[in-house]
Symmetry: C2
C-alpha cells in the first residue's frame, strides 16, 4: 500500500474541534487506500505557554530540561489525534519521537536528525493502524536524553520520516493555501504557485517564507521526497515542491520572501590578513551561533576590513559578546549590532539565464526610496538587508516590478 | 550519603511560585548532606484539564493513548522543578518513569510496578545531581508502551523508589500536616497523629484517608520503608508511619476514615451453591473491576442468597453490566446499584485486645439515628456502609464516642 505522510501544525490541531476535523481528513486518506503516518505539532499556544512558565523560573534554562518540558506539547496533541481517529473507528497508535526511532545528536534545542529506525512504525502500519508521531522531537542515542529539533522541527520530522519510509508524498498542512509569490498579508494580489522546484523552495524557505522549514526542504531534496504544501482548512490542491526544475518556459521569478527575525552584526576594522574571517566564524560556531548572510568587502584602502553578517535575533547577544572578546584579541576596532533590520529576497531558477534581474530589483527599491544595507546573492536568489520599517514597502515594490501578482 | 526520597503532590507544585518554594526545600535537604530523589505529580489541575479534553473526543478513550496523554502532566512539572533547582545553583536532572526504570505490567490506567531498574538515577546521584522523577507513570517492558499507575500513583512511585534505592526515609509532602484521627474538615477538633503503625495506616488509607495511597503503604510495609507524611507549607514534623506496632500503652484507636468515592452493588437471589461467589468475582476481575468490601449473608431461608460489594464509582456501570449478563446465566434474580453511599471505618491496632469496640461504634451510630447498610471487619478495623447523606454525622459520632480529639 502506498504510504502518505501528513504533517499538521499547531494551528491545525489548535483545539478539540480542529483535532476532530484533522482526524476526519486522516480517516479519508486511509479509506482511500493509503498507509498513513501523521506528524503533529503541539496544540496552538501550548509551546508558548510552556516557554512562558520556564522563563518565570529561569530565563536561560538548561537545554536538557527545556527540551523535556517542550516535548510534553506534542505528547498531548498526538494522543488526542489518535483518540479522535479511534472514535471514528480507525485504528491508530501514537509514538513519541523516541519511540518512533528519531535519533538525533545531543544539541538540545536544535538537534539534528542522525538516523531514523522506524521499526515500531512499520510494525504498526503492517497491523493496520494509522501512526501518529510527535513532531519536533527525538532522542540522542549518546545521552539517552530527549531532544528537540528547533523551530519548525515538525516539518523536518515529517519529511525525514517520508524519506525513511519511502513514502509517496509528504503533505505539509498549514493555515494558508500553499506557497505564494509573496506574503499575502503584505501583497494582497500575491499568487499561489502550483509548483515550485526544490531549489527555489530552499531559497524561499531560507529567506523567510514561513510556510516550510529550510531543513525540511533540504531533507526532501537530499532524499527525493515529493512535498505538497496545502491548507488544512480546504480540499484545494496546494503547492507541489518537485525535484525537477520547471521547464524553460517557466517564469523567471518564483517569489519574494522576507524575514524580520534576524539581527545584523558588524565587526569593524578587522586586520586584512589571511585567517581572520575563519577565526571570526570559528569562534561563532563554537558558541553555537547560527550565521545566515555574510558580507565582507575588499578593503577600499588601508589594511583593515569590515565583516557583516546576520543571525537569528535570539542569538544576537551571544554573537555580540563572542565577537567583543575576539575583537581585542585580533586587534579589530569595534562591534556593532542592529536589531531593526529586515531581509528581502527575490528567488527564481530562471534568473540564472536572464541577466539584469539584480539591476531591475535594485532600481525598484531605489524608486521606492529604500536604502540597501547589505547585498548577497546566489545563482537563483538576490537578498538585500534593509531597515525593518522599509520591509513591507520593499516586498511590494519588488513584487510589482517583476509583475508576479494575479493578472 | 543517606538517600532521602521526597514526593510532592499536585497542589505543592500547583504554580510557578509553589515550584520555587518546593525547590527551596529540596535544596535545603540536599545542603543538609543528603542525596535527594524527588517524585512529582502533575501541576494542580493539569491532569483534570487533559482528562476533560480527552472526554470531549471520546468518553472511553483507549487506555494506551489516555496514558500517553496523562503522562505529559508530570513531564511538565518535573522539568520545571529541575529548572528551579538549577536556578538555585543545585545540579538537577529529571527523568520520566520510563527513563527512571519504573517497569510495570501493561494494564493501562492502573498498572502495577513489577520492578525498578534505577541505573540512571544512581549514576546521576553519584555525579552529584538531585534527581527528579515523574510520579504516577512507568513503562511496560512487554509492549514498550507508557503506563500510568492509577489515582495517587505518585505515592507508590515514591515509596517503591525509596525501597529500590534503600532510602533512609520517604517523605510524602501534602497540603495537610499529617495523618489525623479524622478528616479535619468534618471534625475540627481532630488530632494529628505523631506516629502510626504501617498496619493501621494501611487500613486508614484503604478506608479513604486520602493523605496516602494504600498501594504506597503496602510497598512501605513489604520493603520496610519508613514513610513520613508532612506538609509542604510548613516545617513542622508530620506523621511517621513506622513498621513496628505502637507499644502496649498506645491508644486503642488511631482514627476514623471515610470514603465517599464508592458505589454499592447487590446481586440478589443468587443460588446458594458452591462456586457462585467465585463465579461472580472472577467475571468482575476479568472485566478489571476493583472490588473493595464484600458482604454475603448465610441465606436466612430458601436456597438463594444476596451478595453485596462496593467498587469505585467510576467502575460501577461496568460492574453492573458485567453482573447483569451473569445474573441470567446463573439464575440470579436481579442486580441493584446504589451510588449514594459512604463507607466509614474505625481503625486501631489496639482493638485486637480490647473487646467491645464494635458494640460501642454501632451504639454511637444508633444514638445518632444512622442506619447501617453493610458491615465488614478486619482484626484492626470495623467498616460500615451508610447513606451518603449520613457520612459526616457518622464520622463525628464515632470520633466523639472514642474521645479521639484534642483534649
Amino acid at each position: 500500500m502506498p504510504i502518505v505522510v501528513q504533517k499538521y501544525g499547531g494551528t491545525s490541531v489548535g483545539d478539540v474541534g480542529r483535532i476532530k476535523r484533522v482526524a476526519d481528513r486522516i480517516a479519508r486518506t486511509r479509506q482511500a487506500g493509503n498507509d498513513v503516518v501523521v506528524v503533529v505539532s503541539a496544540m496552538g499556544d501550548t509551546t508558548d505557554d510552556l516557554v512562558h512558565m520556564a522563563e518565570q523560573i529561569d530565563p536561560q534554562p538548561s537545554g536538557r530540561e527545556f527540551d523535556m518540558l517542550l516535548t510534553a506539547g506534542e505528547r498531548i496533541s498526538m494522543a488526542l489525534v489518535a483518540m479522535a481517529l479511534q472514535q471514528l473507528g480507525v485504528d491508530a497508535k501514537s509514538f513519541t519521537g523516541s519511540q518512533a526511532g528519531i535519533l538525533t545528536d545531543s544539541v538540545h534545542g536544535k538537534a539534528r536528525i542522525l538516523d531514523i529506525t522506524p521499526g515500531r512504525i512499520i510494525d504498526s502500519l503492517a497491523a493496520g493502524a494509522v501512526v501518529i508521531v510527535a513532531g519536533f522531537q527525538g532522542v540522542s542515542p549518546d545521552t539517552k536524553d530527549v531532544t528537540t529539533l528547533g523551530r519548525g522541527g515538525s516539518d523536518t520530522t515529517a519529511v525525514a520520516l517520508a524519506a525513511a519510509l519511502h513514502a509517496e508524498v509528504c503533505e505539509i498542512y498549514t493555515d494558508v493555501d500553499g506557497v505564494f509569490t509573496a506574503d499575502p498579508r503584505i501583497v494582497p494580489h500575491a499568487r499561489k504557485l502550483d509548483v515550485v522546484s526544490t531549489e527555489e523552495m530552499l531559497e524561499l524557505a531560507a529567506q523567510g517564507a514561513g510556510v516550510l522549514q529550510v531543513r525540511a526542504v533540504e531533507f526532501g531534496r537530499n532524499f527525493g521526497v515529493e512535498i505538497h504544501v496545502r491548507s488544512s482548512f480546504s480540499h484545494a490542491p496546494g503547492t507541489r515542491v518537485i525535484p525537477q526544475e520547471p521547464d524553460m518556459e517557466a517564469a523567471i521569478i518564483s517569489g519574494v520572501a522576507h524575514d524580520t527575525s534576524e539581527a545584523k552584526l558588524t565587526i569593524l576594522g578587522v586586520p586584512d590578513k589571511p585567517g581572520m574571517a575563519a577565526r571570526v566564524f570559528t569562534d561563532l560556531a563554537d558558541a553555537n551561533v547560527n550565521i545566515d548572510m555574510i558580507v565582507q568587502n575588499t578593503p577600499a584602502e588601508g589594511d583593515v576590513t569590515d565583516i557583516s553578517f546576520t543571525v537569528p535575533r535570539g542569538e544576537a547577544a551571544l554573537a555580540q559578546s563572542t565577537l567583543e572578546s575576539l575583537a581585542s584579541e585580533i586587534g579589530a576596532r569595534s562591534v556593532t549590532l542592529d536589531v531593526d533590520v529586515a531581509k528581502v529576497s527575490l528567488v527564481g531558477a530562471g534568473m540564472r539565464t536572464h541577466p539584469g534581474v539584480a539591476a531591475r530589483m535594485f532600481a525598484a527599491l531605489s524608486d521606492a526610496g529604500i536604502n540597501i544595507e547589505m547585498i548577497s546573492t546566489s545563482t537563483i536568489r538576490i537578498s538585500v538587508v534593509v531597515a525593518r520599517s522599509d520591509a513591507e514597502a520593499a516586498v511590494l515594490a519588488i513584487h510589482d516590478a517583476f509583475e508576479l501578482g494575479e493578472s
